[in-house]
């Protein structure tokens, strides 16, 4: 007798689970914050190619969503995050980091400004404890509303035309990081122009009871536009090409770092541009970040690198010389890009080496014909945004 036979399945199903299950041919479920999430449906390769060539649909319902509302919501949000929200008008998305008092990044994500004092924070990790703690003294209500919305990320060069055919008026005019709300066939939709693939793309949010309608409608009208479902593995490839960082992969969230040195600042994590040191109001971590900037005390910057050859190099050490006497840093995410035909990675390297084109050496251990081989090859600093097509921001 074992305890296993007495346990009940506990993973939750998103509102899209049923139609996803019908397309799930490779037993590719993985977990995402307690929900079933697809890693791949049939083949990662075809899903990745569909994202770069037609359009893909990825279930983003498990994203953790916090509504921040109330008299002081704008003030609080601006205190919470590193971006200057006075410059973000209602119905716009701000990509931002939020830090602890030491200026170490807890997480980064998108913050929707739906109204002057109405925000929606999308997080990969549970943040309510921190949000409540930070909200002390502000007149705000913070509510976890994750299950009140079901969302699909529709990404790829054909995503816009699919929404046009769906009947979304004015989708072509929606700017990058804009938000719109509309009604199609009596169903409420919220659409924001953002995503994790670095391409033209949208996130489409509906009430959970409309989830099946959205899924079936998208696949019906998207068929001639090469729509495909996408799992997390293909998404992972597209986000590395796009240069987007991921918590606990490219940096460790400050709240669950074991040692304080594991924590990184947003500058070190390569999103220094999202830190508005000049904003008037104080924000959590501002003093520490100002100091880091003024002293130049960032230990490294997470940068893009391009590597010679075709061996993917996750967790590989970088050196200043071929002999490997001077160590520079370590890669985090790494992949062979089928689209760019480049061997790319993110690497934590000293600021002096981050200028695009700077040559370094990298030590890669890789499996080849059933054994492990080592190679020491050249690599070069690059803009981390390896893939950045004009259509991403284009308004038609």
């Amino acid at each position: 007798m074992t305890h296993v036979q007495h346990l009940k399945p506990f993973l939750k199903k998103t509102p899209f689970h049923e139609p996803m299950e019908a397309m799930m041919h490779g037993a590719g479920w993985i977990r995402w914050q307690g929900y079933y999430s697809p890693a791949y449906f049939d083949s990662t390769q075809s899903e990745y190619m569909a994202a770069r060539n037609g359009a893909t649909v990825y279930d983003v319902s498990p994203l953790i969503k916090y509504a921040i509302r109330g008299k002081d919501a704008a003030k609080f949000a601006n205190y919470l995050v590193t971006r200057d929200l006075t410059k973000v008008a209602p119905m716009n998305v701000a990509y931002t980091a939020w830090c602890d008092d030491d200026g170490r990044m807890i997480e980064e994500g998108t913050l929707f400004r739906l109204g002057p004092n109405d925000f929606l924070l999308n997080a990969a990790l549970h943040q309510l404890h921190w949000l409540n703690e930070s909200a002390y003294g502000f007149s705000v209500e913070i509510e976890e509303i994750s299950e009140q919305l079901a969302g699909l990320s529709l990404q790829g060069p054909n995503s816009r035309v699919i929404l046009e055919v769906l009947g979304v008026q004015g989708i072509g005019k929606l700017p990058h990081f804009g938000i719109m709300e509309t009604t199609v066939d009596g169903h409420w939709l919220r659409i924001d122009r953002a995503g994790f693939t670095g391409d033209l793309g949208y996130e489409v949010w509906v009430k959970p009871q409309d989830a099946i309608w959205l899924w079936e409608t998208l696949f019906r009208i998207g068929d001639p536009y090469k729509i495909a479902p996408m799992g997390g593995h293909a998404l992972e490839m597209t986000r590395v090409e796009a240069g987007f960082i991921l918590v606990d992969v490219d940096y460790i969230g400050a709240h669950h770092a074991i040692r304080p040195t594991q924590r990184v600042s947003p500058i070190e994590a390569g999103i220094g541009w999202a830190v508005a040191l000049k904003k008037d109001a104080y924000f959590v971590g501002k003093r520490a970040l100002q100091k880091e900037k003024a002293e130049g005390s960032s230990r490294f910057i997470l940068s893009g690198i391009e590597i010679e050859g075709r061996k993917p190099a996750p967790g590989a050490f970088l050196y200043a010389d071929e002999k490997g006497t001077k160590e520079l840093g370590l890669t985090t995410s790494a992949m062979w890009s089928p689209l760019l035909k480049k061997n790319i990675a993110f690497a934590q390297i000293p600021i002096a080496y981050t200028k695009p084109g700077t040559e370094m050496w990298i030590e890669i251990w890789y499996p080849k014909e059933k054994k492990i081989e080592r190679s020491m090859v050249k690599c070069w600093a690059r803009n981390r945004m390896f893939f950045d097509p004009p259509r991403k921001k284009e308004v038609v």
Partner: protein, 551 residues
């Protein structure tokens, strides 16, 4: 006589463009002067047989070659072709319909393929693992031979005349030792296997593994494509390997669609070449290579214009180059053998092409809907293919041909309006001439009908979907693309015309019989398929002669 150019490339096919781009980028690292390179193309756009054209409004056809795998990754990266717009989308299904029962279907997923084959034969499904491993071993051996100049064993004779390749001897010895080393690494048993495989017929090879006749016929497909041989002709096993040795992102044997059609390959290479400083002239047909004092000094265009250069490199096939572009007297003055080598060069056209615009996706008999994603081979057992070959042998097209069909618009949204499709139909076997008679419009129509009937039989309702059909016989391919007899490989891929014997004995290292004259087309090692390797290898040899660094 002003020589404005360092090199003139005759023909703007994909290999000519690769040669041009490599030449222009040669010496870049060494800080040498950029070589001035001119590409002369007969047609109004470059690409040769890797061409996309809007033949029917709204539809882009890959008019000749139709899938991509062999294009060497080294070239893809060196020329940064993605930045120049090239995107290859792999497909993961191959299938063969059956109007009398269940079709055959294989997937890139090994487990799924085995399950699929079990429906036909448990024995074959189990043997498939062993077969696939053997093919992988064969690919492993051949891969290092592709991007190198083939070493010539005759150069090892210290007393041999070595006027053609001044770089010979040492390089040849080193090259041979490298191959011997690779060969030895395969182990004794595999060394025997490799020699057997390179010379045997695909029929004999498959008989050693499989029992299901239709499956064997399907597996043999890649070994007869573009080849004027039947499945039991010796040498066909190698042709199979030639179609398996390609890769997409390191997956050996994977094939894909070039987004926007195969013209995207040429367009991207041309863009890389132009960026590197290459000058491309279209509507500029070369009529003759100018030879003076045993040296190539330039070309004469069809309009009489003469253009001079330090070197001339021909992307045209060996027969066209040595029998049409070069005067026999010039050849005979150097080496009287070459004219007869060229005359005897095997370049029989055996394939036709139908390009079809469809109103919707056809449903193939005995196959699931998803099979439309990848190649669909209409054929049958070896008897079906041998009968098709018999028609060809005796001077006609196959009445029931073998067809290699792809519908790239199942994944590529750029080639046809939404919901519509472009279908590429490769037809085997189709002769260059009907007996000794030329093709007539009536004969071409009868040929087209036989092909469409064969498809209709295997995809009921297909005919009603046809919006437009372009039909090309080998004769059309010769006249429109310039490939002699319409042979897609610029010369057959049989062992007598391979390695250092490709195109001719003694000329296997990209240098022609004249000083300053080179070859860079698929008629040179390692042969056809949209590979680019001949072009890159030729450029490397030219750069050596220019003392212009290495690429």
């Amino acid at each position: 006589m002003g020589t404005k150019y360092d090199a003139i490339v005759i023909g703007g096919g994909h290999n000519g463009l690769v040669t041009a781009a490599y030449l222009a980028k040669g010496g870049e690292k060494e800080g040498k002067n950029k070589l001035k390179v001119l590409v002369l193309e007969r047609y109004h756009k470059v690409g040769g047989a890797a061409m996309s054209e809007e033949i029917h409004p709204g539809f882009t056809y890959s008019t000749c070659s139709y899938v991509c795998s062999l294009l060497r990754p080294e070239i893809f990266r060196f020329l940064d072709l993605p930045r120049h717009g090239l995107q290859v989308i792999p497909y993961e299904i191959n299938s063969s319909p059956n109007h009398e029962g269940e079709g055959i279907i294989t997937y890139s997923d090994h487990d799924r393929t085995r399950e699929s084959l079990r429906r036909h034969s448990i024995k074959d499904a189990e043997a498939y693992d062993h077969y696939a491993a053997e093919i992988s071993r064969q690919c492993r051996f051949i891969k290092p031979l592709l991007m190198v100049t083939p070493p010539d064993p005759t150069r090892l004779n210290p007393f041999a005349q070595n006027k053609i390749n001044p770089w010979g001897k040492r390089n040849d010895l080193e090259g041979l030792l490298k191959i011997a080393h690779e060969f030895g690494r395969m182990g004794e048993k595999q060394m025997y296997e490799i020699i057997r495989f390179w010379t045997m017929s695909i029929g004999d090879f498959l008989d050693e593994y499989f029992e299901t006749p239709r499956w064997k016929g399907f597996a043999a497909a890649s070994s007869i494509i573009g080849t004027a041989l039947g499945p039991y002709s010796p040498g066909t096993a190698y042709v199979l390997l030639h179609h398996y040795m390609g890769e997409v992102d390191g997956q050996i044997g994977a094939w894909g669609f070039a987004r926007g059609g195969m013209g995207s390959v040429s367009k991207a290479i041309a863009s890389a070449a132009t960026e590197a400083g290459v000058e491309i002239r279209t509507n500029a047909e070369v009529a003759k290579v100018i030879i003076r004092g045993g040296k190539a000094v330039g070309v004469t265009l069809a309009n009489g214009e003469e253009i001079y250069a330090r070197t001339v490199v021909s992307n045209a096939d060996p027969k066209r180059t040595y029998l049409k572009l070069i005067e026999k007297s010039d050849l005979d003055a150097i080496d009287p053998d070459i004219h007869s080598y060229a005359k005897n060069f095997k370049i029989r056209g055996s394939s036709g092409k139908l390009n079809i615009a469809l109103d919707g996706l056809p449903q193939f008999a005995g196959l699931p809907k998803e099979s439309a994603w990848g190649t669909i081979d209409i054929g049958g057992d070896f008897d079906y293919i041998e009968r098709a070959y018999d028609d060809y042998k005796y001077g006609s097209w196959s009445k029931r041909p073998f067809l290699d069909i792809v519908i790239p618009t199942t994944v590529d949204p750029t080639m046809a309006p939404p919901g519509k499709h472009f279908m590429s139909v490769f037809v085997q076997y189709v002769p260059y001439k009907l007996g000794e008679q030329p093709w007539t419009p009536e004969m071409k129509a009868a040929f087209e009908k036989d092909v469409l009937d064969t498809i209709e039989m295997n995809a009921p309702g297909f005919r009603d979907l046809i919006l437009h059909c372009q039909t090309r016989t080998p004769w059309d391919i010769e006249n429109e693309v310039g490939l002699t007899e319409g042979n897609i490989f610029q010369g057959e891929l049989t062992l007598d015309q391979m390695l250092f014997n490709r195109p001719f004995p003694g000329l296997g290292q990209y240098r022609g019989p004249f000083d300053n004259f080179y070859m860079c087309g698929s008629g040179t090692h390692p042969g056809g398929g949209v590979m680019g390797a001949p072009g890159a290898n030729a450029a490397r040899e030219m750069l050596k002669d220019f003392k212009h660094g290495v690429v």
